[in-house]
């Protein structure tokens, strides 16, 4: 395996070097990737969460093919996702169930202008982001009128079809969608407004999970499925001296949500309301004032037609930021302060957790250099009597990108919330007169270091070697899960519960890109990663997990308006188990290596019509999954077919965020 990777890497280096001779050097993008709408659609990204497939530096898994959990380069684990999601500068919170769900956003791929992915510490809308971030920029129509619709559906082969009535052993196979989306946009004289509505449907009925979810069928005898409605309204005003943006959204999902610590799905209906304000005001020519407020209410309650279960829990989160940006001595400064408020409570009962307040202050300095930019960010937070400092340094040069960070973090953990959901109010209330004792504000320490050396960086070829290290020391023993790189499109891989008492994560890799300027575009990344867990409390535990991944994609503009693309993702991991025990499925296993391997090949084609106003796209996924032991054991292979179409009054080619963010003002 190693020799193969070595050969492939050598081939990439030779190919890239041969392609780059005599090409001029231009700007670089250290620790940050940008995906534009057309690129997303060409590569078969039809739902927002599908973008994880384009990010081999991140790892993600999904039980049902809809809700994903992700980790940015090992900077956080899966159940306590610390990466941050932003849409047009506003923070999107983790849900009550602890998930940052891209597919719950009131955003369709058609509405996306571009997506920024940060793998190194940065600051977004006055918020320090140290564990990775995704920032989605949506299209705004600031001059004129536009409207559009989009439809997406997919199907995995091997459904029972009419033989459902002849063979009771056959179970339905996953069906994706149909998804419908629409938008209306208008703008003029500095004002703009956007109304969007999205509906998503997902049938997670694969036999690998149906043995758990079949008991959850509703009283209409329907298969468990996810139904999501997300309307939103965005209005704003731009003038020479100010920008104001207000967004109101509501996301309602009838869900079969997998709760890792419970190890099973629960039927739940989640309703998330969000109101945000982002504004900036120029003060003279040299300074700007920025303010941002985001209020989110998340309500989990009983699902329609499912009987005798109603968690009835609500959380409220308010984040407010204010910052001043100015230039002094050729340094772009940003100095600000913020307040975060959290509250969790059962809807109709007593308040079970006190308000959780975090006060923050931060300063960021951007130091422009002739061949790059340096950035220093410092933030100090105060929560529950504790001081939580965070410091990050990024150096970005033509041939080297380096970043280092140190952070002391807090995580609000509501055990009472989970207990409530699992056991119900009566059992919960009998435990303690003061159930808030079950809630903790936990802290940990994380240190990261990332280095990327640009071996080649010109108009057509980018080749870099990268390495990263992340160390965490947790002050608590929490239960969390871990899994090997499963595909985002299906549940694959290995899921278990292990303690995390801190550990380390190291990755080394090589990455190359070749932009064919309308012809072939190539992307190749190979990496080796090692995860070490430091604890030993439970009998089932992973100590060291070497993982390998190889990701290749090619996009080819075959004919005017006709693009074909292919993606190949290979993942393999070797785990050494220290103890023997019994898996959740009752299968005994013993210490030794477990080698799950996954190969996913996707082929897609897209045709645009009417100068980009319409598109039709087709994608075929072929997945092969192999595991030597455990769950699911053996070989799993399947094919899924996807089709997506969309239309809008205006063609979309806006690339507003393609420039290097470190060369633009902070806000």
């Amino acid at each position: 395996m190693r020799s193969r990777i070595s050969k492939i890497m050598k081939a990439v280096v030779l190919f890239a070097m041969a392609s780059a001779i005599a090409s001029p050097v231009h700007g670089q993008l250290g620790g940050r990737d940008v995906f534009h709408r057309d690129e997303l659609l060409d590569l078969g990204v039809y739902r927002p969460a599908d973008i994880f497939e384009l990010m081999p530096s991140w790892s993600s898994w999904s039980i049902d093919g809809f809700t994903h959990r992700a980790s940015a380069s090992g900077k956080s684990n899966y159940t306590q996702e610390r990466w941050a999601l932003f849409v047009d500068g506003r923070r999107v919170e983790r849900s009550l169930l602890g998930v940052i769900d891209l597919n719950m956003l009131p955003v369709s791929i058609q509405m996306i202008d571009s997506v920024e992915v940060f793998n190194v510490p940065t600051t977004i809308s006055g918020q320090y982001v140290g564990d990775g971030a995704i920032h989605i920029h949506t299209h705004r129509e600031v001059d004129g009128f536009d409207a559009g619709v989009n439809v997406y559906t997919g199907n995995e082969i091997n459904d029972p079809g009419p033989f459902l009535y002849k063979d009771g052993s056959l179970s339905n196979i996953d069906r994706v969608g149909p998804d419908y989306g629409g938008f209306l946009q208008g703008g003029g004289g500095g004002f703009y407004a956007t109304v969007t509505a999205n509906y998503r449907e997902h049938h997670a009925t694969d036999s690998h999970i149906s043995h758990r979810t079949r008991v959850l069928h509703d009283n209409n005898n329907h298969s468990p499925r996810k139904l999501l409605y997300t309307p939103s309204l965005r209005v704003g005003f731009n003038s020479e001296s100010s920008q104001t943006d207000i967004t109101v959204s509501r996301s309602t999902m009838q869900d079969i949500a997998f709760v890792p610590s419970y190890g099973a799905e629960i039927p739940v209906r989640q309703t998330i309301h969000s109101v945000s304000y982002n504004g900036s005001y120029s003060i003279g020519d040299a300074a700007k004032l920025m303010a941002s407020v985001v209020a989110t209410e998340d309500f989990a309650h009983g699902r329609d037609n499912f009987l005798a279960w109603d968690p009835n829990i609500k959380s409220d989160i308010l984040r407010a930021r204010a910052a001043l940006g100015f230039t002094a001595n050729n340094v772009l400064w940003s100095v600000g302060a913020g307040l975060d408020l959290f509250r969790v409570r059962p809807g109709n009962y007593t308040l079970i957790s006190d308000q959780y307040r975090v006060y923050k202050a931060y300063a960021t300095a951007d130091l422009p250099r002739p061949d790059g930019t340096d950035q220093v960010t410092a933030e100090v937070g105060h929560v529950a009597g504790a001081i939580l400092p965070k410091v990050a340094l990024s150096i970005r040069r033509t041939h080297i990108n380096a970043s280092a960070s140190f952070s002391r973090n807090s995580v609000y953990e509501s055990h009472s919330l989970l207990y409530w959901m699992h056991m119900g109010y009566d059992a919960f209330s009998s435990l303690s007169a003061n159930p808030s004792n079950f809630d903790d504000i936990k802290a940990n320490t994380i240190a990261t270091a990332d280095l990327s050396i640009n071996l080649l960086n010109n108009e057509t070829v980018k080749l870099s070697a990268f390495g990263g290290f992340r160390y965490s020391q947790n002050d608590w023993a929490t239960i969390q899960d871990f899994t090997f790189i499963p595909g985002p499109n299906r549940f694959q891989g290995d899921l278990r519960i292990v303690p995390d008492l801190g550990g380390s994560h190291v990755d080394l890799g090589l990455r190359g890109e070749h932009d064919g300027d309308g012809g072939f575009d190539h992307f190749l990344q190979g990496a080796v990663r090692t995860v070490t867990h430091g604890g030993d409390i439970f009998r089932e535990i992973m100590r060291e997990v070497p993982r390998y991944n190889l990701s290749y994609r090619v996009r080819y503009t075959a004919l005017p308006g006709f693009t074909m693309a292919g993606m190949l993702n290979l993942h393999s991991a070797t785990e050494w188990r220290s103890f023997y025990g019994t898996s959740r499925e009752g299968t005994p296993f013993y210490g030794g290596p477990v080698v799950p391997t996954q190969m996913k090949l996707s082929l897609s084609a897209r045709k645009t019509l009417f100068d980009g106003r319409m598109y039709a796209s087709l994608k075929i996924d072929n997945v092969l999954n192999r595991s030597l032991q455990d769950w699911p054991a053996g070989e799993v292979r399947d094919m899924t077919f996807h089709i997506a179409v969309g239309a809008a009054l205006k063609g979309r080619s806006s690339l507003r965020y393609s420039e290097d963010p470190f060369a633009r003002p902070l806000f």
Binding site: T153, N155, I157, N158, D159, P160, G161, P162, F163, L164, Y165, K166, D167, G168, L170, N172, R175, R214, H217, N221, H222, S223, A558, L559, P560, G561, F562, M564, L603, T608, L609, F610, D611, G612, A616, L618, I620, N622, M639, F641, I643
Partner: protein
Amino acid sequence: MFGMRRQIAAIWSSCIVVTLLITTAGGDSYAQHRPFSSVELRAALLDNLSNDDTFFLHWHAGKGVGLSGKTPFYAGNAELGLYYNTYDAIGSDVPGMKALHMFVGWGYPLQVKSFTLEPAFRLGNYRMIFNDGSTQFRSEMDESEFSTSVVMSGKLNLNRSLGIFGEVSRTTVYTYYRLYYNYIGAGVSLRFNTGSAFQGALSQ
């Protein structure tokens, strides 16, 4: 498992062949068949011929109708269509069903004077709507599955617009137990040229 692998291999082979044809033959054909230069609408009566598959032990195929449209697309013709068929239950243990076959296709026309022979390949969705969903097994009232078709059609041009055609096709529906349908159909076609603005817009 071996049979499944063979079928999957057949799909990929077909996709690769189609892709190669499009990419390699595109240059010459672009001049001969300007994309979207015309649209041909087709209406057909269909019959699903029974075969010895297990499916036809339990269901009897009825007649069907089909509507489709095709247009020159670089190296050949692109096609979009919707076929409708009914299936009656032979016994009382299964319900009757209706089937909607939606597909996109690509074919390469071979012209011999006023006769056009066109082999084609279709990718589609086969939606099965059951007359009675009550069953001992939990299920939706309908099922849908991916399908592929290989088609051979022959058309006789009566004049520059009108034509009559016949087609035979073999459709595979990728349910757990594969469904194989052999269709024959016959109908009329109406062809008209599109404007240059229309062609230019669709070509971008």
